[in-house]
Symmetry: C2
Subunit: 553 residues, 2 copies
Amino acid sequence: MEAAAKAAMPAVSFDTSPDRYRHWKLTFDGPIATLAMDVDPDAGLSPDYKLKLNSYDLGVDVELADAIQRLRFEHPEVRAVVITSLKERIFCAGANIFMLRGSTHAWKVNFCKFTNETRLAMEDASRHSGIKFLAALNGICAGGGYELALACDEIILVDDGNSAVSLPETPLLGVLPGTGGLTRVVDKRKVRRDLADVFGTVAEGVKGKRAVEWRLVDAVYPTSQFKQRVAARARELAATSDRPVDVAGIRLTPLAPKVSDTAITYSAVDVQIDRDKRAATLTVTGPAAAQPSMPADIVAAGDQFWPLRAFRELDDALLRLRIAEPMIGTIVLKTRGAPEPMLAVDELLLAHQNHWLVREILHFMKRTLKRLDLTSRSFFAFIEPGSCFAGTLFELALAADRSYMLDHPDEPNAIALSRMNGGPLPMSNGLSRLETRFLGEPRRVTEALAHDGPFDPAAALDAGLVSFAPDELDWDDEVRLAVESRAALSPDALTGMEANLRFAGPETMETKIFGRLTAWQNWIFIRPNAVGEKGALTAYGSQSRPEFDFNRT
Amino acid sequence: MEAAAKAAMPAVSFDTSPDRYRHWKLTFDGPIATLAMDVDPDAGLSPDYKLKLNSYDLGVDVELADAIQRLRFEHPEVRAVVITSLKERIFCAGANIFMLRGSTHAWKVNFCKFTNETRLAMEDASRHSGIKFLAALNGICAGGGYELALACDEIILVDDGNSAVSLPETPLLGVLPGTGGLTRVVDKRKVRRDLADVFGTVAEGVKGKRAVEWRLVDAVYPTSQFKQRVAARARELAATSDRPVDVAGIRLTPLAPKVSDTAITYSAVDVQIDRDKRAATLTVTGPAAAQPSMPADIVAAGDQFWPLRAFRELDDALLRLRIAEPMIGTIVLKTRGAPEPMLAVDELLLAHQNHWLVREILHFMKRTLKRLDLTSRSFFAFIEPGSCFAGTLFELALAADRSYMLDHPDEPNAIALSRMNGGPLPMSNGLSRLETRFLGEPRRVTEALAHDGPFDPAAALDAGLVSFAPDELDWDDEVRLAVESRAALSPDALTGMEANLRFAGPETMETKIFGRLTAWQNWIFIRPNAVGEKGALTAYGSQSRPEFDFNRT
């Protein structure tokens, strides 16, 4: 199955907009937006399954991610979002099981990763952008449906004698809830572990008063009161928001990269694919010299303002590489441009970080860099003359598994830090990349940030900011060998190694979801008890019952 | 392979003693002990492989675990331990690859779990018992050998132009270092992640000054100075210890349970196996009324003092169930006895917790309960009249995935807490089991601990201390159904679910090792790229090179 992985992956575009949504209705009532799920069963990414009962595939989640993103940038007036369903007595049945069953292992894993990122983006919007989410469960809410609800600030469930929340993955499918469910149940909602254990093993779930007592939902209301209570609570949540008043949003226009078999080309991001080497080179071009200097200019520039434009392109490029290029194991990160405008943009962003749009841009840059941290490919930064590894763009080098900086006597080459490297772009572990890098020598963080001016290769190496600084005689061989020897290693071992080395220091709910939960889910996703001929995922919906090898591991 | 798992697992006894060691020499020089590895290649657990170059299998690690345990109880005079090798130019080549290759998945996983627990026990001895560990690497130190060194407080490497430390698992075998290596490199030794990335991919490792600069070792010395420097540093480490002076240790005598096909019987612990139900009942009998009242009496009672005796038996029973009974998926925990002596023992232990032996006993109880938390079986506590779920033994109910307490009008049934439930027996996450249970309602911890006297079923349920309290009419059906329905679920999904639900709250290096690292390793251990016909683990040592499916996941 793995060998056919790429062929078996349907084409996906991450570019959509509300007028093209097939599965969600986004409506507005002043500060309250309603995002209503109404999945079109016939509009799945593949014709092999029907998305019944508001079950979803990646295409449904791409629309959700797009909606969350647009609420932040296009609708600064929105202060609370009600997530509900337009289907009668069904909120959401979770990820489509027939889709999962027909997918390659890599697809399952990438699907779960993206849905996890989308749910974390909702929590990010709540925490940092003043958009509060209220899950209004108007019916059955199972599996991934409940995991979507868990990502909201509050959950209201209709009390109609039938509607329950449930995580039926373990009892019905022999797998785990793959989108943070277990972690959020015990770590976010702090459900008692014995009750969580029961909840995680009863397919029918928990409803009514018991769901409140177990902390699985925040409130239940009878059908007659449900809509009114949801509306009232949404207004209360909206009142807690710090979003601006009387400002207009900006438009997020389509990215429309040029895509060929060997290249993906955007305005500030370029990806060149070398299939023989199983490597790609991703180059980000830094900002031009002329940049806005006031928030009004930034609003006027809209999505063409360099940080937003470049990071939207970077985000899209990473998603395309993940989904469409599973054989490309190594990504070389390069930059080009002049460092001064990049450093000026950093100062501009930080000077106006309380402006609503600047705030959104900063958090979007942060999320994109997290997406890079969480991409299971090897990243090497190659720092060459003419590059722009300064401030925000130096985060690419810090996010890379290694960095190589050319030390050429005749070609000046420098990196530079800015205040952006000191905290505004934290990793999933809550620390800056510099702090994570220097866990063992925290004084180096202070020293590096206090350093005046750029670092030449010797200074960068001395400060511990780059891994290696080969001279011009060694450079070509050394970087070529780095890429070639990486490509020879087991891709699975690299995925596991990187997942363990990239996130030193404190763990958060976020790192738990991607570290602990995802790793267990990946394991279960390839065990015969789930995906074998008689596994539970294979047997689901057929006449036959699963047969397990009961050896405990 | 899985189906033959049990048959393929060699018999292992966890009962050994220095006079029977085949692989280690334990010698003493005042406060300094030397634990020297000298693996007998012909004394592996299976005749299918030779333990060359100080490579190890589970049998080697059982001796190491025994030695660490005896240093704590039998040798209170020991303040520093030098871990070294008697082989020329070889410290340790790591886990034996031929053993790994020939093992079932379950065996690999259990092997790694036990070795992880042993290394954590060394760190526990250093932190809590004043025994400092110095790794004296007198030669090549690869893979699990370096992971053993990482568990020591300090690492000295000989600088002979040849001896290096390395983690060659990824480049040579396509797997991860399975015994905490990656986590300890970045989280304990705080090696920079880019250097860790290089280190983790070069089979030959790092030696000499660079090993110090990269923080992989603490010092390197030329061969001529090595022994003297090690001895001097061991004396310095010993000087920092708070172990007692002029006291004699106690003896840990063999446990010698009676083992049949359906039962394992110790003095205070009894295991009854029901193969049809794939369940076992583990019953702990609480202490008798007459117990020592002063430390001198405890020393005199030695390993027959109830807490030490019962917990040694519990520890051994858990290990036997893990290794020898992989098909037993559910373990019902019961206790019997009078609660008063149990509560008196708790008070006695806490009153004298600074006495060296009491300290050791408390930490051993803690480690045994952690072993239970980390055992991938479902645990249900059944609390019935005549039971002794009080204080320390109530930790069994708190460690269980669920607890059921019989509420019978004619048969009094009670649980009780003691100060032992308030912190002295923390989980791997650093919290008490009560704190972890009530993350969402911390006041309940205080209330439960402040409660005067025992809790009857209604009070226990109300306080959130038990999951369910069925009455006498429902009891039989409810507990039977709990066990039967658990047995019907996918054992893999249960393992993953329990690993995610049991450890809410903060993450520590310990939980990272068992959660994140172990889960990734388990995943890699069943991927074709490692264990398939052309996988790297399969190909190692043969003429053929591994062939990978290069799809990144």
